[in-house]
Symmetry: C2
Subunit: 413 residues, 2 copies
C-alpha cells in the first residue's frame, strides 16, 4: 500500500480513536509492552537481518550501534511504553470553562490532533516511542522510517497492531510506510487532506527537507546550536562546572553546548583556565582572533563555525564586549533552542533572560536540562525549535489540540 | 523597499519590541488612535483616490463598500485601537511555574512571537486592526494588502508610525508592502529567516495560495462551511430560531450556516415548515433527492454544493439517517469551523459533541457565536480552522508564544 492510501486509512481510524476512553488506551499500551516482549524472537531476528544488510552496505559502526536491538534494549523499549501508559490522560482535559455573555456555557477541551505523520531516520526504537505517544494522545500515526531499519520497525509495529486487535481497535491506527519512494514521501508531506501534523525527527538535513516540501503544518525538532555566555561577574568555579557539563556530558545531543562566549573583562584570566580544562578532555576549539591572542594553539573560527552544530568534541569560542553583544551573537548564529548565562549581576541576567529569543533560557545552569523528562512532562516526542503550538520539550499535552464545546438553550445572536 | 528587506528590518525591530513594557505599548496604541483622527483629512483623501481608481477599474459596488473609509468608519477604527489598548497585556504572563527535580526553578512565560506577516485583501480597516493587535502582543508586523487599497493602508500605517516615533520606538515595527510583485510576495511567504508566522485574511483562494507557497508556519483563518443538524428529538421552535439566525443574521460571514441536515424521522413534518420559513426570507435551497420528494421546487444539490461556502442567501439541505450519518457528512464536507446539533437527546448530543472534529461545536445554539468578542477574548485577529497553536477565535493570547526561563545555582546534569 502506498503512503497516501495508508494516511487515508489512518484518517478514518482517527475518528474511531476519538471515541476510545483513556483507560482503554492505557490497556492497549500495556498490552503493546507485552506483545513487544512476546515477539522478542521475531523482532531480534528481523533486526539482525537489518543489521546484516547495513554491514554489507558499509554502514558506519556508530550508525550500526543505533540500529541494533538486543534483549536489554527491547526490555527498555517495552518499559518506555509502560511508562507512557502510566502518564496522565492528555485528552478531555477542561482547559477553560465559563458562561459567555449570551448565556451559553463554554468549555475549552483538549482533543486529539487526528493523524500525526512522523518522518525519522534509522533508530528503530523511535517506532515504539512515537506509536505509544501518539496513541496515548488519541491520534492515529503514520510512520516513515529509514529503509535500513524497515524490518525492525515492521516487527515493532506488528506487535502494536496485535495489541490493537486484541482490544478490538482498528489496526489502521498505526501505519508504517512500506519503503515509499522519494516522490511518494513528498506527496505525503503535502497531504493536508489526511494528515494534521508532521514531525521530522533526525538530522538537520532531514528536517530541512521536510520543511521545504511540507504543506502540512510541521513542528521542527532538534537542531541545537546552544550557547553558554560567561559574564564579567561570573563565579569561575560555577562557570567551569556548567561549561564542562554542557559540552561533555553527552556531546552528541541537541542540548549540548556548541559555542562558548566570554566577556572580554575576564577573558585574560578565564580563557587559559577553561580552554585547558576542555582540551584535557579532548575538545577541539575554534576561536576568534582575540581568544587566539590569549591562548595558543586554538583553531581559527569562521562565520560557518558559529553556525555549526558539531554534536561532537568540537566547539567554538568567542570573546564578546558585553551581554548585549552576547545576545547579538546568539540571535545571529543560534537555533533558538537553549542558551545559558553565567553571571552574578541582575542587570545582565534580566537582559539575557528577556533578550534571548530561544525556547529555553538558563541563568546559572547547564543547557543539558532541556528535556521533557527533566522538565517534568513525563515524556517527550522531541524538542521544538519553532514558535507555534509547541516550543522546547514537547510532551503529551503538546500532542493534542483543543476544541470549544458550547452548550446552549436555544441562544441566537 | 522590497518585502524581504522590509521583513529583515522588522526582524531587527522585533528585538527592540521585546524590551518594551506593556504600559508603553498601550501608550503607543492610544497615541495611534489620536494620530488616526488627527490625520483624518489625509486618510480620507488617500482613500478617495483608491475608491476613484477602483470605480474606474470597474470594481463591484459591494467591494467598493468594503473599501470606503468615511468619518464614522474612521472613528470606529480609532475606537477599535483604543479597545485593544485597554485589554490585558498578553506578554510576560507566567503560564506555569515549578521547581524541577534537579532544583532549578522553571517558569513558562508568554513572550512575543517576533515578526508576524499578514496577507489580506482590500478592506483597509484590517491594517489598523492587525497593526494594533500585533503591537499589543509585542511583535513586529509586516502587512501585505491588496493593491486597490494601498493608498488608504499607507495613510493608516503612517499614522501608526507617527505614534511609534513620538514614543521613541523604531517605525520598522510596522511595515506595509509597497505593492510587491507576485514573485516578491512568494519569496516573502518562504522567508523563514525573518518572519515567524504568516496569517492570511480573506477569501478561500487567497488562503489556499498562501498555504501552497508558504514555508513559514501559517495559521489558516476563515473558511467556514458550517452545519446545523436537527435531530429526531429536537424542539422545532428552537430549531427554527437557531437555523434562521445561523443563516440569516449575517449570511456573508464565515460562521453562518451553509448546510442544514435533518433527521429522517422528522423530515416529513419539519422540512415543509423550515423550508417555507427560509424561502420567505429569500433563501435558495439546494437539496438531496429525499428532501425534494417532500418539498417541491428545491434545487438539486451535488457533491460540490455540500463543499460550497456560499456566504449568501443560498444553502444546502440534506436528510440523514441519524446522528452518525450527520457526523459523517460534516466530517466529509465541513471545514472544521463551527457546527451545531439541535436535540433533546443526551446520547445524540454526546456523540455529536465528541465526534465532530471542529474548532467549535454547539448544542442547542447558533453557530454565529464563534467570534473572539462573543467568546470573551476581547478581540480577534481571525478564526483559525486548523489545529496547531490556535483553534477557533484567535485572540491576543494566541498571538504570543512561550519560553521556558530557568533559574539555577550552578546545576549540572
Amino acid at each position: 500500500m502506498n503512503l497516501i492510501e495508508q494516511a487515508k486509512l489512518a484518517k478514518i481510524a482517527s475518528r474511531q480513536l476519538r471515541a476510545i476512553d483513556g483507560k482503554t488506551r492505557d490497556k492497549v499500551l500495556l498490552d503493546f509492552a507485552k506483545t513487544l516482549l512476546a515477539n522478542k524472537d521475531e523482532i531480534l531476528k528481523e533486526n539482525a537481518a537489518d543489521v546484516a544488510e547495513a554491514r554489507q552496505n558499509g554502514m558506519s559502526q556508530a550508525m550500526i550501534d543505533r540500529l541494533v536491538i538486543n534483549d536489554t534494549r527491547l526490555a527498555a523499549i517495552a518499559e518506555g511504553v509502560r511508562q507512557v501508559a502510566a502518564l496522565e490522560d492528555p485528552v478531555g482535559k477542561v482547559l477553560e470553562e465559563r458562561q459567555i455573555s449570551c448565556g451559553i456555557h463554554l468549555k475549552k477541551v483538549s482533543v486529539p490532533i487526528g493523524v500525526i505523520g512522523i518522518i525519522f531516520e534509522s533508530r528503530p526504537n523511535v517506532t515504539a516511542d512515537c506509536a505509544a505517544l501518539c496513541f496515548k494522545a488519541g491520534s492515529a500515526c503514520v510512520l516513515k522510517g529509514g529503509k535500513e531499519s524497515y524490518r525492525s520497525c515492521k516487527a515493532i509495529t506488528d506487535a502494536m497492531k496485535e495489541a490493537l486487535q486484541e482490544n478490538g481497535i482498528t489496526t489502521d491506527a498505526l501505519m508504517l510506510g512500506e519503503k515509499p519512494s522519494h516522490e511518494e514521501t513528498e506527496q505525503f508531506m503535502a497531504c493536508r487532506e489526511y494528515v494534521d501534523l508532521l514531525i521530522p525527527r533526525g538530522s538537520k538535513r532531514l528536517i530541512r527537507t521536510v520543511v521545504e516540501h511540507a504543506k502540512i503544518p510541521v513542528i521542527e525538532t532538534g537542531a541545537g546550536v546552544c550557547h553558554v555566555y560567561v559574564d564579567a561577574t561570573a563565579d569561575f568555579d560555577m562557570a567551569d562546572k556548567i561549561i564542562l557539563n554542557a559540552k561533555l556530558s553527552r556531546p552528541s545531543v541537541c542540548n549540548a553546548m556548541e559555542t562558548l562566549l566570554v566577556n572580554k573583562q575576564i577573558a585574560q584570566e578565564y580563557l587559559p583556565r577553561i580552554t585547558s580544562l576542555l582540551r584535557e578532555k579532548g575538545v577541539s576549539i575554534y576561536a576568534d582572533e582575540s581568544s587566539r591572542a590569549i591562548v595558543e594553539g586554538l583553531l581559527e573560527a569562521t562565520d560557518e563555525s558559529y553556525h555549526t552544530e558539531y554534536n561532537d568534541l568540537i566547539m567554538n569560542l568567542r570573546i564578546v564586549e558585553d551581554v548585549d553583544q552576547a545576545i547579538e551573537h546568539i540571535e545571529t548564529y543560534g537555533t533558538h533552542h537553549s542558551d545559558a548565562i553565567v553571571t552574578n549581576d541582575a542587570v545582565s541576567r534580566d537582559k539575557f533572560m528577556n533578550g534571548i529569543d530561544s525556547a529555553c533560557v538558563y541563568h546559572n545552569a547547564s543547557t543539558r536540562f532541556t528535556d521533557g523528562f527533566e522538565f517534568g512532562l513525563g515524556a517527550e516526542i522531541g524538542i521544538s525549535t519553532q514558535k507555534l503550538h509547541a516550543r522546547g520539550p514537547m510532551g503529551l499535552n503538546e500532542l493534542t489540540t483543543y476544541a470549544y464545546q458550547l452548550e446552549g438553550k436555544g441562544e441566537t445572536r
